[in-house]
Amino acid sequence: MLEIRVVEPGTIQLTGRLDASQADEAMTALRKLDGPLTVDFVGLDYISSAGLSVIVETYRRLQGAGHAFRLVNMQPRVRNVFKYSGLDRILQIE
C-alpha cells in the first residue's frame, strides 16, 4: 500500500510501496499539488518503473511551471532504481 501525506506546505512524504497497482492513485494525488515541491521518500520501501513515471510526470509539470522539485531521504535500494533508469542524473535527489 502507499500513503501520501502533506507534512508541511510544499513537502509530501511517501510511505509504503509505489508500484503499478498504486501508480494511478499516486498520480491523481500528485496532480493536485502545485508550486515548489519536496518529496520525502523516507518511508518508501519500493518503487518500480510505474512509480518512476509518476515522479517524472510531476517533475515535468512543476519544472515546466518554473517550480523547484526535490526528492529527499531515499533508501539505497530505491535510489538504485533511479540510478539504473538514468533519472538520478536529471532529477534533484538529495
Partner: protein
C-alpha cells in the same frame, strides 16, 4: 518449485508480492534481494498484462532456489511472441534530457537480473530469470 497462477490484471500485484514474500521467508532470501526479485517480476508481469491482453486469463510465476541463485520463471499462455531479451535502450523524451518511459521497465530488469532467457513455443512465452544470491 513453488508456482502461483495470477489473474492477468495489475490488481494481482499485491498477491504476487505476498507470494514472493512467503517464498523469501521460507528460503532465507535477504530483503534487498527479495526487493530485486519483486522488481523483476513486477516489470515482466505488467509487460505481459499490457502487451498480451488477449492471452489466457492467468499468468504463471514460479520461484526456485538453486544453490547460490534464485530462478524466476514467468509463463504466459496463448500469446504472441515478445522477446524480452532483445536489447532496447530507452531513448530520450523529445525536447528533454529525460530518458523516455518506453522500455524503462525492461531496462530495469536487465540491470537487476544476472541472466534473462526467453522461449516461445506453441503460443506460450516462458521467461526465465537468474538472480545470484549473496552468501
Amino acid at each position: 518449485m513453488p508456482e502461483g497462477r495470477f489473474p492477468r490484471d495489475i490488481g494481482a500485484l499485491p498477491s504476487i508480492f505476498e507470494f514472493v514474500a512467503e517464498f523469501g521467508s521460507s528460503h532465507d532470501i535477504p530483503d534487498d534481494q527479495r526487493y530485486d526479485v519483486e522488481l523483476i517480476i513486477e516489470e515482466l508481469f505488467t509487460n505481459m498484462v499490457k502487451y498480451s491482453a488477449d492471452g489466457a486469463p492467468e499468468i504463471s510465476i514460479g520461484l526456485e532456489r538453486d544453490r547460490g541463485r534464485l530462478v524466476v520463471t514467468l509463463r504466459d499462455f496463448d500469446v504472441e511472441p515478445f522477446d524480452v531479451t532483445k536489447p532496447s535502450t530507452p531513448g530520450r523524451e523529445s525536447g528533454t534530457e529525460l530518458p523516455s518511459a518506453g522500455g524503462r521497465g525492461l531496462h530495469l530488469v536487465r540491470q537487476v537480473a544476472d541472466e534473462l532467457h526467453y522461449e516461445y513455443r506453441d503460443r506460450n512465452s516462458t521467461i526465465t530469470v537468474m538472480k545470484r544470491l549473496d552468501s
